[in-house]
């Protein structure tokens, strides 16, 4: 048992070390959310206010969504790195070591989630620029939610990585899974009174619950929540557990 825990720790630590060594990656991966927030967000906000839609609040509304987006992409791609690592890299060395496949999967999920959480926290630091006050309590609450969301996404990433082998499929996943997940998460627009099919589909999207949990906390406005916080957390935790078990099973079976 202790050996397995050390195995989990090793996989996690290696991902974290690599992350902090790769400064260009840290900075590069902040580019997209910042672009979304300050260019797209500002643009939409000003056109909404032009139409008299009360768009001044749009940037604030979008801010938790952009944090969700950062967590989504970071976590997913970290987990997917298990695909090429397996063929051409460090993971082969881990695979012949005397630790179980399950520990490797758990370590990888925790590693990806930690990195995604850090990336999300960096975006959260932009809050004062939008005049959103963030207290310590809020900060740590959001960190907790982010970590759970990240675990859910990373576990999904492991499941997909275990069934998909080619790099081409990767592009397909980005376009046909990640982007829809982002659009149908409530990150950019509220999903309580849009077209009916959107409302329905969004409820099958784990990120939806993540955003629904984060937004009222970050903006300190309980009126923004569609479901109570505890329900969002239960959904996310359940999906994480199921996906982790499935991921560990599929990963162990694969060779």
């Amino acid at each position: 048992m202790k050996k397995e825990l050390i195995g989990v720790y090793t996989i996690w630590l290696r991902d974290i070390k690599r992350y902090f060594r790769d400064k260009p990656r840290i900075i590069g991966s902040l580019g997209q959310p910042i672009l979304f927030l300050f260019v797209l967000g500002t643009g939409i906000a000003s056109s909404l206010s032009f139409k008299g839609g009360g768009g001044g609040d749009y940037l604030n509304f979008m801010f938790p969504g952009i944090i969700g987006m950062t967590v989504l992409f970071t976590s997913f791609f970290s987990a997917m790195s298990i695909v090429w690592d397996r063929e051409f890299g460090f993971l082969r060395e881990v695979l012949v070591a005397p630790i179980s496949r399950t520990s490797i999967v758990i370590g990888k999920i925790l590693g990806g989630s930690t990195i995604a959480m850090i990336q999300g926290a960096i975006i959260l630091l932009f809050a004062p620029l939008l005049k959103i006050p963030i207290t310590f309590t809020v900060f740590f609450k959001v960190i907790g939610i982010m970590f759970l969301v990240a675990m859910t996404i990373a576990a999904m990433g492991i499941v997909l990585a275990s069934v998909i082998k080619s790099m081409q499929a990767f592009q397909v996943i980005t376009n046909f899974l990640l982007m829809p997940m982002f659009f149908l998460s409530g990150a950019l627009f509220p999903l309580n009174d849009t077209v009916k099919w959107m409302n329905v589909v969004s409820r099958a999207n784990p990120l939806f619950y993540g955003i629904d949990a984060m937004r009222p906390v970050i903006l300190d406005n309980p009126a923004l929540q569609l479901y109570p916080l505890w329900l969002d957390m239960v959904v996310l935790a359940s999906v994480t557990v199921v996906m982790s078990i499935l991921g560990a099973f599929l990963f162990s079976r694969q060779e």
Binding site: E87, F90, I99
Partner: protein, 331 residues
């Protein structure tokens, strides 16, 4: 090395591995003795890596029996993993970490106590002459240095067997020689079994025994000297004005097969070249333009059995992808 000790540390019986209809390993049987250097020699795609991957628990077999140190590869994976060291064909270091950090992670994975880990890291780094660069990122290493570090890492947990899958692949000749020097040095200083593969014929001469493998089958298995002895003499290569006529003549006087070789030459074997050549030059029915004689190599053994040169093989699409990736990662 040690003639009294004939314990088999690896036993492989009727091993078969199929990939979607392709028989990569086709019913092979062999044993590796404790403390020997055992070599797998064969062209690209022969099934060397596949066999190693099965023995070291990374790949499941289609059928057959494989044991290592008495443990069954299918059922006692962790026991096997504890007593083997691996140097993979493809790079497996984390190049964003330093040499010491790579070793540290390895130590964690193999549960080496922290107090021993530091000392052992120094020891293995010293052995492959990387002590002065131990704190540099692996990214900054040359191909040969990375290979040496992988060997050091494979030794860190004091395995009973070290697997080296094409340890010199992609390296320049000088670096290749150095890698072999380290391997010989290692064998002298430690009681360890080494299982290596190569498709460079001349390199496997350091092995105590060699299995020549081709298209998933073992086609010969013996000591390098015995294998070469099967050739029965020296190899003679001749360029003449009329090969057809000369071939018939040589067949007649020696009774041995005559093959076509590269650059329009012909090639055959004789018992004793030093007495044969003067006789041939005196009596040859056609004019001989050049003639050379040499001792047989393992390449000739392969040629003799299969009728092909070992390096003529074209890499499959899968292998060329791997090679591209490897080049990108190694340099």
């Amino acid at each position: 090395m040690n003639d009294i000790n004939t314990n088999n540390i690896i036993e492989v019986k009727n091993l078969v591995k199929e990939f979607k209809g392709l028989r990569a390993v086709d019913d092979i049987t062999f044993t590796v003795k404790e403390d020997e250097i055992f070599g797998f020699l064969g062209p690209n795609g022969a099934g060397k890596t596949t066999t190693i991957n099965i023995i070291c628990t990374l790949l499941s077999k289609t059928s057959g029996e494989v044991t290592l140190g008495g443990y069954n590869v299918a059922r006692e994976r962790n026991k096997i993993r504890n007593c083997i060291g691996m140097v993979f064909q493809d790079p497996s270091l984390d190049d964003r970490l330093t040499a010491l950090e790579n070793l540290y992670f390895h130590g964690l994975l193999y549960n080496i106590p922290r107090s021993a880990l530091k000392e052992r890291s120094e020891e293995v780094l010293e052995m492959v002459n990387l002590t002065s660069r131990k704190k540099s990122l692996v990214m900054t290493y040359s191909g040969g240095m990375k290979r040496r570090l992988e060997i050091a890492r494979g030794l860190l947990h004091y395995p009973k067997i070290l697997f080296l899958d094409e340890p010199t692949l992609g390296l320049d000749p000088q670096t290749r020689n150095k890698i072999w020097d380290y391997i010989i040095k290692l064998k002298k200083s430690k009681n360890i079994t080494i299982f290596l593969t190569s498709h460079y014929m001349e390199e496997t001469e350091i092995c105590d025994r060699i299995a020549i493998i081709d298209k998933g089958k073992i086609i010969a298995l013996d000591t390098p000297d015995n294998l070469k002895r099967t050739i029965g003499g020296d190899i003679i290569t001749i360029l003449s004005e009329d090969n057809v006529k000369l071939k018939d003549y040589i067949k007649e006087i020696t009774g041995s097969e005559v093959h076509d070789a590269k650059e329009g030459k012909i090639r055959f074997e004789v018992k004793d070249s030093s007495s044969f050549i003067p006789k041939l030059i005196k009596n040859s029915p056609v004019k001989i333009l050049s003639i050379s004689a040499r001792k047989p190599t393992l390449n000739d053994v392969f040629l003799d059995i299969t009728g092909r040169e070992i390096r003529e093989e074209n890499a499959s699409a899968r292998d060329s992808l791997r090679m591209r990736m490897r080049r990108r990662m190694r340099h």
